[in-house]
């Protein structure tokens, strides 16, 4: 799979921060970690008190927190949880009891403040990342060096080729899109990168991309569950991740998390959220984003403006990114969960293909020794209201007129006001813009298109069946004659090219040329490492599947483009 497009030129990027790693905001943050945690705690307490404005409300909020935390410890414990969780909650409960027995208002308030501070500090400390320069450097070399060895060994012949430098990770992972703009803006302002989320590999992949592009490390919210796995935990810690525990849904925790993110952005730390919140279970591009962390980008922008930071240097830029795979390691379990839960997120046991370090290692070896490209599309940067910006960080409306982003936070163009409901609405608007951009920059691979065509053909053939009954059909009913398949494929392919020409989707260079070739390319790659392949040619040369659930999963990638009606 050679690079066949200019688009995919391998390029070396200099670091955008000339002073080197010591100048990075994330390094400054980790240097003053304790101080920052205190600041986060203070900010969180202010927020919590604004939300629970009376003493009674605050006590109730803390009691709820304790109750839910106890439930979590009992029902859903993780290896990464600190051992003294339970003891800590016991102490909090005792103190709450003391308060309820006291008559002295002042004493009550004082004690309550103490409890609140302890809880919030504990959360802030858990959330806070632990970026270490030395570890970052080491991880960087392991990733680039180690993977490059595997790659060269597999592609070139002979034992000594393991020391060859002919191939690097960039041959494997194509980065396309608005790279230069991103690099330019990272020098000028603060980047909030928002990628799609399909696989646990995303975190590492995106960390590598950021490094290859010469950008300083980003901080990012990684699911605390990932820290259960040692190898990933090591990578994440060194890449500047902070921890997000999605089991904790109490208000105290959520406010602390938001305060952490907002303050870090205000300090100029480039940040990364997976705005879908969790891996896409269905394989669809996220349609609904989690608004919590996203709102911190808007809030941080407003606070910066309130502090009088008016130039592009203090501006926040939202950059959507899509990660495009032929193969998602955990697809079988993801789609199983999707079908089971149908969107209702409940507690479930984290048990998937990433559960042990060994499995991940085995996957990585497979991945780098066999040909399956990944591409990363970097979208155009936007301001926090979703307007495109130029390389200078200046916002424009769709007619090319300059917009002063600050004015969105005023009623008269002058006085900046804080209005939570307004910012909630802005967050919703921003999330819609991001979803639109995801669909626009999403790169269609041949593998996506064959999966899509095949599944829709089957769905149309059995249109009286609902999804669940369709998925239960026996294998022998799932054969599509090649001629029929090819005819349908060509129609969808044409439509995808039309969409591409209209700027509504992106396509892989492999999606041009002879349709027969494209189909073969697609069949070769779709879900290629699964033990049961989602799509194959049988002996007669017809198309069939060994695993319809997986086919459904890979087909979902092209959901939302109204392509169904072109399959016939």
């Amino acid at each position: 799979m050679e690079s066949i497009s200019r688009d995919y030129v391998k390029k070396k990027y200099d670091p955008v921060v000339p002073g080197g790693i010591n100048e990075w905001p994330v390094v400054a943050l980790s240097r003053s970690r304790q101080e920052f945690i205190e600041e986060v705690a203070e900010e969180s307490i202010a927020r919590i008190k604004a939300l629970a404005s009376t003493r009674e409300a605050l006590i109730e909020e803390i009691e709820t927190t304790v109750f839910r935390e106890k439930l979590r410890i009992k029902r859903n414990p993780w290896a990464v949880d600190p051992e003294d969780d339970s003891a800590f909650l016991g102490i909090v409960q005792e103190k709450l009891l003391e308060i309820s027995q006291s008559d002295d208002d002042e004493e009550k308030n004082e004690k309550l403040d103490d409890i609140l501070k302890e809880i919030v500090l504990r959360y802030a400390d858990e959330i806070a990342g632990n970026f270490k320069k030395s570890r970052y450097r080491m991880t960087r070399s392991i990733v680039t060096f180690g993977f490059a060895r595997l790659l060269n060994a597999s592609r070139a012949r002979g034992f000594w080729s393991i020391f060859s430098t002919q191939f690097t990770l960039q041959d494997k992972i194509n980065i396309t899109g608005e790279i230069d703009q991103l690099r330019e803006l990272a020098r000028k302002g603060t980047i909030v990168m928002v990628p799609t989320h399909f696989s646990n590999l995303d975190s590492i992949l995106i960390g590598w991309v950021i490094n290859v592009l010469g950008l300083p490390a980003f901080i990012y919210g990684a699911g605390l569950n990932l820290f259960n796995i040692k190898i990933i935990s090591y990578f994440l810690n060194s890449l500047g991740a902070y921890k997000v525990d999605r089991r904790k849904k109490n208000m105290l925790y959520l406010e602390t998390l938001k305060a952490y993110s907002s303050l870090a952005i205000q300090r100029g730390c480039h940040s990364l959220f997976f705005p879908g919140g969790t891996r896409s279970r269905s394989g669809k591009i996220e349609k609904r984003l989690k608004l919590g962390l996203l709102s911190t980008a808007i809030e941080a922008q407003r606070v910066n403006y309130q502090k009088g930071k008016r130039d592009a240097l203090e501006k926040i830029f939202v950059v959507p990114v899509t990660l495009n795979y032929n193969f998602v390691l955990e697809a079988p379990s993801l789609i199983r969960q999707y079908l089971k839960l149908q969107g209702q997120e409940r507690y479930y046991v984290e048990n998937d293909e990433y559960s042990t370090s060994y499995k991940i290692f085995a996957f990585l070896v497979k991945f780098f020794t066999k040909g399956s490209d990944i591409s990363v599309s970097i979208g155009k940067a936007m301001d926090v209201l979703g307007n495109y910006v130029d390389t200078q960080g200046q916002s424009y409306d769709k007619n090319g007129r300059v917009i002063d982003t600050q004015e969105y936070f005023t009623k008269d163009g002058r006085i900046i006001s804080q209005n939570e409901q307004r910012e909630d609405e802005y967050t919703r608007m921003l999330s819609e813009r991001i979803v639109n951009e995801f669909h626009r920059i999403n790169k269609v691979f041949p593998s996506h298109l064959v999966a899509f065509t095949a599944f829709v053909l089957l769905k149309k053939k059995y249109k009286k069946l609902d999804l669940y009954n369709l998925l239960r059909l026996p294998e022998e009913d799932l054969i599509i004659p090649y001629k029929e398949f090819k005819a349908a494929f060509e129609k969808v392919l044409m439509r995808v090219h039309t969409l591409y020409n209209e700027g509504k989707v992106n396509i892989s260079p492999h999606l041009t040329g002879d349709p027969h070739q494209i189909i073969n390319q697609g069949l070769k790659n779709v879900g290629m490492y699964h033990s049961k392949r989602p799509l194959i040619k049988n002996r007669a040369g017809d198309i069939t599947t060994k695993h319809l659930n997986l086919l459904f999963y890979y087909h979902n990638r092209l959901d939302g483009y109204n392509l169904e009606k072109y399959v016939e």
Binding site: D397, N399, R401, I403, Q421, R422
Partner: protein, 344 residues
């Protein structure tokens, strides 16, 4: 509050009525397209037959409105709405708020339509969506409710709904419009409230036809109730919330426009029932009956989506295809009665 100045776009009867209500709380700058109109109003002190408050000034300069006013109320017919907004757009800034009072739809079709083109709700824009699409203004709202222009000028008790996803737009609109005889309610469902105002015009035309045929009040009760059901079905399909339709902007406005002879849409239906052709009826009228355009748009949508809104379809036949009003009513009455309410 005395030195703030609020903009109104449009000096028709409703625009003037809105300006007069606003004038109780603020200075008002009203835009009229034609400089000659502005001169006449200034000379006579009346606009669209209403006496004009002395806190209102008039201009034919759009840029001036954008520069002097932070809150602007566009109140022009839907057929001119987009053009006006496009003209205004270069002067608008993100701090502006806009609350429109136009009860119509805009059909936006792609320039190139392939043979596989299907009209969907995405091609039907409400007025607030035009503002969002054409300008940098995001804090948008609408006012809707039983607000017959001719009655508003008398100062009888009345109320309106300000709908916007932004609380601050509702608060701002309320503080500007509210007075002792004018109540203001808030609703976050902007699209739903806009659709209430839009769709009720269809039923108003039908109601005019009933009156023109002297069919009495039982039939009107029947029409209002079945009309509301049709509004709700269409409104839901177009993305509104059911709850908005049973509020002031829905049932409230529906009752006012289906019973008032001063409603334009009612009047249009009445004339048709009295035997006038559509052209004759329109010739007599100085102002736009929005219901007419709405029926055209909804009919196209219904056809492409394979749904049959009974009242709208029948009116389409009466207005554009020469069906006799009596035949239309018979057709409706012959339709087998269904379940009374099946959407709650």
């Amino acid at each position: 509050m005395s030195n703030r100045i609020v903009g109104v776009l449009g000096a028709g009867s409703f625009g003037t009525a809105v300006a007069n209500i606003l004038a109780k709380n603020a200075n008002v700058l009203v835009y009229a397209r034609n400089p000659e109109t502005v001169r006449q109003i200034q000379q006579s002190g009346t606009s669209a037959g209403q006496k004009v408050s002395d806190k209102i000034t008039f201009t034919s300069n759009l840029e001036e409105v954008a520069q002097r006013c932070n809150v602007i109320f566009p109140v022009v017919p839907s057929s001119n709405f987009k053009d006006l907004i496009v003209q205004l757009a270069p002067h608008l800034r993100p701090y502006h708020m806009m609350i429109h009072g136009t009860k119509g739809l805009h059909l936006q079709l792609p320039e190139k339509r392939g043979s596989d083109f299907v009209l969907t709700k995405d091609h039907i824009l409400t007025m607030s969506e035009i503002i969002r699409q054409e300008t940098v203004v995001v804090r948008v709202g609408c006012m809707a409710g039983p607000n017959l222009a001719s009655e508003l000028s008398t100062g009888h008790p009345a109320a309106t709904v300000i709908a916007s996803p932004f609380n601050e737009v509702i608060t701002e609109g309320t503080s500007l419009l509210r007075s002792e005889n004018f109540q203001v309610y808030g609703n976050p469902d902007l699209r739903g409230v806009e659709l209430c105002g839009v769709l009720k015009n269809i039923i108003a035309i039908a109601s005019g036809i009933l009156s023109g045929l002297n069919l009495g009040e039982n039939s009107r009760g029947l029409l209002v109730s079945r009309g509301l059901v049709e509004m709700i079905y269409l409104g839901k399909a177009l993305g509104g919330e059911i709850s908005s339709f049973i509020g002031l902007a829905g049932i409230g406005d529906l009752v006012a426009t289906t019973t008032s002879t001063s409603s334009r849409n009612f009047t249009l239906g009445y004339k048709i029932a009295k035997g006038q052709t559509l052209d004759e009826a329109l010739n007599d009228m100085t102002e736009v009956a929005e219901g007419l355009n709405t029926i055209k748009i909804i009919k196209q949508l219904a056809d492409s989506q394979g749904i049959t809104p009974l009242i709208t379809e029948t009116l389409n036949k009466i207005l554009f295809h020469g069906m006799k009003p009596e035949t239309g009513v018979n057709l409706l009455m012959r339709h087998p009665g269904n379940i009374d309410i099946d959407f709650l």
